[in-house]
């Protein structure tokens, strides 16, 4: 995993209180990791804070999995 992926994974583990082995690239925040809509808002905020990027609301709506978040951040930082 890339550095970004590791950091995303750590944020997800901390915020959702889930086991590390569940946080795969394809894991859906809501369907697989037990998040609700407010949890996803907070996750997006935490990604913004950690990586110094801005994730507009319409982009945030399409970040549904761990992999989605990693891809968005990689692109934003490129």
């Amino acid at each position: 995993m890339s550095d970004i992926a590791e950091r995303v994974k750590k944020i997800v583990i901390d915020h959702l209180g889930v086991d590390a082995d569940k946080v795969s690239e394809g894991a859906s925040f809501i369907d697989d990791l037990g998040a609700d809509s407010l949890d996803t808002v907070e996750l997006v905020m935490a990604f913004e804070e950690e990586f110094g990027v801005e994730i507009p609301d319409d982009a945030a709506d399409s970040i549904l999995t761990v992999g989605d978040a990693v891809k968005f951040i990689e692109k934003a930082q490129a």
């Binding site: 915020h15 209180g17 407010l38 907070e42 905020m45 913004e48």
Partner: protein
């Protein structure tokens, strides 16, 4: 109207996590007061408070992880976790875990708080100032709202009846129990989880109450001596934290399932001073009318009262309340014991009335009046037994609990032995 009884109690207090551990330490004369810690306090005029003892959950300590998952705790202020803990204890104690639609819909929640998530509001305010609105958590609002104690408890236990909350400063807990009892009496619910919760010990709240000149400041080096209701050397209240929750139940409902009954809620009175935002009216008229209304509702006379759990905050207002009680009880004064348990646990603000109503139920159960600590030199003479220093064993069949709050809001509850 239908009759209402208490069938379960739960408590998190500065004397421990649990009703029985708190009660035994209270009767033993222990104090929960100590110097504040965990935040900057050197510049505060009041530097003591009554803290819940925390630990791994053994020995009467409170372990938040036992009551709410760590990832959920992060989203709420502690007053909500205290309410979750005390509610679960109360429901377990009552043996009431509704599973059917009918039972869940017949069970409601009415938990209040005086000020709710003050600390979380302070923190969010700093984030808003320093980082802007995009960094304000989506859990800021639902983790601070006072009625979210009722909301969280209802979600956890699937209680789908009336869901309500009370905010009347230091009368909150008593109003919640009184109002919830009425919902049962009127037939809107068969069971109510009711009480109060508060987590005020913070730099912000100590600064605010100190500015109102409400807090004790003279005993910062002797915390356990600071809360001294009726004593001539008292100088303000000592802040406390915790929650008190009762399971209230319609009498026939409780009997039908063979529930243990602590006491019957027979009287409830409410009044307003219409006088001052923080001070009680000097003639004690609001307190007097409140107690009279509760006795009238109970169908009892002043001579029936055995024990009064006073509001008694260790402020100048103590003698006003005492005068009002003397006026209510007249020449029965010598037969009455009246104590302020705030001398041991401090002032739990919105939780105070609920915790103290539970103490009244236990005083009836065990025929014992808990003590008023530190009452070395009563400021005024009275025929009423103020139970100085040591608990007093005596017959207690009827107990009255007083709560008075900022804004001149008063509540009195009357409990009677169920026989």
């Amino acid at each position: 109207m239908r009759r209402v009884v208490i069938t379960g109690t739960g408590m998190v207090s500065p004397l421990g996590c649990g009703t029985e551990i708190t009660w035994s330490r209270l009767l033993d004369g222990q104090s929960g007061a100590r110097q504040v810690s965990g935040f900057e306090f050197e510049d505060l005029p009041a530097r003591i408070a009554c803290y819940i003892p925390t630990g791994d959950g053994t020995g009467g300590t409170y372990n938040a992880d036992r009551w709410m998952e760590p990832k959920e705790q992060r989203k709420v202020d502690p007053f909500i976790i205290y309410a979750m803990a005390a509610s679960e204890m109360a429901l377990d104690d009552a043996g009431w875990h509704p599973k059917t639609d009918e039972d869940q819909i017949a069970t409601g929640v009415m938990i209040g708080s005086g000020i709710g998530g003050l600390e979380g509001i302070v923190e969010a305010g700093l984030i808003l100032r320093d980082k802007g609105p995009r960094r304000v958590s989506p859990f800021f609002i639902p983790g601070r709202l006072i009625n979210l104690a009722s909301g969280q408890v209802s979600i956890r236990h699937k209680l789908r009846g009336p869901n309500h909350s009370v905010v009347t400063a230091c009368s909150t807990g008593a109003h919640a129990i009184g109002d919830a009892s009425r919902l049962i009496a009127l037939g809107d619910a068969d069971v109510m989880v009711a009480g109060g919760t508060e987590s005020p010990i913070s730099r912000m709240a100590l600064a605010g109450f100190a500015a109102c000149k409400a807090l004790s400041t003279r005993y910062n080096d002797e915390p356990t001596r600071a809360s001294r209701p009726y004593d001539r050397d008292r100088d303000g209240f000592v802040m406390g934290e915790g929650a008190g929750i009762v399971v209230l139940e319609e009498l026939e409902h409780a009997k039908a399932r063979g529930a243990k009954i602590y006491a019957e809620v027979v009287g409830y009175g409410l009044s307003g001073d219409a006088y001052h935002i923080t001070a009680p009216s000097e003639d004690g008229d609001g307190a007097y009318r409140c107690m009279q209304m509760a006795l009238k509702r109970a169908g009892l006379s002043a001579g029936d009262i055995d024990y009064v759990n006073a509001h008694g905050t260790s402020t100048m207002a103590d003698t006003i309340e005492l005068g009002a009680v003397e006026r209510v009880v007249g020449n029965h004064a010598a037969n009455i014991s009246m104590s302020s348990t705030k001398s041991a646990i401090g002032h739990l603000l919105g939780a105070a009335g609920a915790v103290e109503a539970i103490f009244c139920a236990l005083a009836i159960r065990d025929n014992i009046a808990p003590p008023t600590l530190n009452l070395d030199n009563p400021e005024v003479d009275t025929a009423i037994d103020l139970v100085p220093h040591k608990a007093r064993s005596r017959e207690i069949n009827v107990a009255l609990s007083n709560s008075f709050g900022f804004g001149g809001t008063n509540a009195s509850l009357v409990l009677r032995r169920y026989a």
